[in-house]
Amino acid sequence: MKYTVDESGFYGNFGGAYIPEMLYPNVEELRLNYLAITEQKSFNEEFQHLLREFVGRPTPLYFAQRLSERYQAHIYLKREDLCHTGAHKINNTIGQILLAKALGKSKIIAETGAGQHGVATATVCALMGLDCTVYMGKLDMERQKPNVERMRILGARVVPATSGNQTLKDATNEAMRHWINNPTDTHYIIGSVVGPHPYPDMVARFQSVISQEIKIQLIDQTGNPTPDYVVACVGGGSNAMGAFYHFLQDDHVQLIGVEAAGHGVDSGESAATTALGKPGILHGSKTLLMQTQDGQVIEPYSISAGLDYPGIGPIHAHLFETERASFINITDEEAMQAGIMLSRTEGIIPAIETAHAIAALDKLQFDKDDVVVLNLSGRGDKDLETYIRWGKY
């Protein structure tokens, strides 16, 4: 299994656990326990039960007729937008909250960009009666206002991160600092396949339910479990990893990760990590990272708060380096137009993160018989203000 994590927490040249000693006991506790706990029968039963009854899984794999006509291929939408709370993020938070409980933790912290992971964390904390603090960049609090209020209604404390560009990277810094200062009673629910080992592997496993379902649903609908393409947007890369997971070993399946180009890859305002990044170390792992020659992290930019991150998960860095997956990038403008296009073609208003994946359909060349699965990671309710401000509809 050449795309899974190795003994020391690496995917090829990427991954690891580059953490200060202050975080070592917390991360080590997770590393030593996550597989044993998540492989328990009782854990799995509760996880599956909550995914089914609380999240609403399995999510449909919807054959998008009009979209298929438009792009001359068989396009299926994996409807993660129909998950409770409106995005795939909750698959992971359900898994991690059960893990946190098994480890006896009473407090939960999280970082969030678009607010979807924050809402998903606040939701599972309410469900389990655990204390919840979410760090969110101050800029993101402004551009994802409805999600801030959702978290507050759910009883979470939302703490603005005021350093840097006041976005996801800065929220992650603050969450890590909080964890350093509260090492014993607190679990940090990271929202993507980033962070020190074992987070990338753990989050990937929790999200892998997406591709597990896709396989079964494709057999039902086409008689064949393997598509020709799987397309997903990549911020940290959790929805993409979930959609790729069970196809990693099948070289026939083309895996396409879609990053945010912001105002354009060469504009200086971008978050297209595979295009602009070099190997580096941030938030506890070695991965591709947008940085200066001197190793300072470059502030990313994207209209989409969930893709506005200067790195990607180490597994994606590995998929990029080994060319197992291809990465393309989409500008703000292309994404917004694709969001409107999907709304009018299929009656689904996507999250702006997801709209980047949809825009990628324009950049790919399909054969008429190709089966394309597009992971519809989230819905656009949280983004109405951004759509309105953009205004071209």
Binding site: S8, G16, I19, R177, H283, D294, G295
Partner: protein
């Protein structure tokens, strides 16, 4: 020539004072004058921070100094030049402290060689994992006689404490609390208990206590349990409020040592 940390700890087993400051703060060219004045005022070890954009182990004060230093234009190559200039004027050990990524981009091997050539005696890289150290740093550091100092905290297990002692050369950095950098006014009972365990353990290396050393009381308390202490945030704060850096440093060190 002998490693200056080794030399220092051969001669001095108590009340060792190490002071941290961020290179390029408050002004780009202050690195030299701060180091020189610190030594003159009675500092034993100069610990110079390599600024980083995302210092996750640091509290607000050191975060802010990192940002100012980067905005001032500090870079690793310039920092090493400044250290070289400082080295020609002081004989105290100089330790560089920083996050791994800037070192990694500079090139690990090149960094170690250039640091040694600039007169650096030791390195503290908080996010450097033991295995990465053993694979990519250890041989070069040993051949250059460059110390590498690892951290331990109140939650570090006994087994790992021993490993930290095995890996470290020069001294061990005992973090006073489970926290980011920043100053507390005093130590609580749990911390004193932890210090007691540090004192009773048999170490290969001398131990310095850092984080939360902010005044004479905390400095002398820490010194009762260890070879000395490291001051960071409190010093940066003093610099931040200073109108006359030299005067501020003289007074700061005196107060800390209880000579005022």
């Amino acid at each position: 020539m002998k490693n200056r940390l080794t030399e220092l700890f051969e001669k001095k087993k108590k009340d060792v004072l190490a002071v941290y400051y961020t290179a390029g703060y408050p002004s780009l060219d202050d690195t030299e004058v701060i180091g020189k004045t610190l030594v003159k005022a009675g500092t034993d070890i100069i610990e110079i921070g390599i600024p980083f954009s995302d210092p996750i182990a640091d509290g607000p004060i050191i975060q802010a100094s990192n940002k100012v230093a980067l905005d001032n234009g500090m870079q690793v190559s310039l920092l090493l030049e400044q250290v070289k200039a400082l080295r020609s004027q002081v004989s105290a050990p100089i330790v560089l402290m920083g996050y791994l990524n800037p070192v990694y981009q500079y090139g690990i091997h090149k960094f170690l060689i250039d640091a040694k050539a600039a007169g650096v005696d030791g390195l503290i890289l908080p996010d450097l994992p033991a295995k990465e150290y053993e694979d990519n740093f250890k041989a070069t550091c040993e051949s250059l006689d460059l110390s590498v100092i690892f951290l331990l905290t109140p939650t570090t297990s006994l087994e790992r404490r021993n490993k930290v002692d095995q890996l470290s050369t020069g001294f061990i950095y005992a973090v006073s609390a489970s926290s980011t950098t920043g100053n507390s006014k005093s130590f609580d009972e749990n911390q004193l208990h932890y210090f007691e365990t540090l004192k009773t353990q048999k170490w290969r290396n001398p131990v310095l206590i850092g984080f939360g050393i902010s005044n004479h009381e905390t400095f002398s308390q820490a010194c009762q349990y260890s070879a000395g202490a490291i001051v960071g945030s409190a010093f940066i704060k003093a610099l931040e409020q200073s109108k006359d850096i030299k005067q501020t440093i003289q007074t700061f060190v005196k107060v800390l040592r209880g000579n005022l």
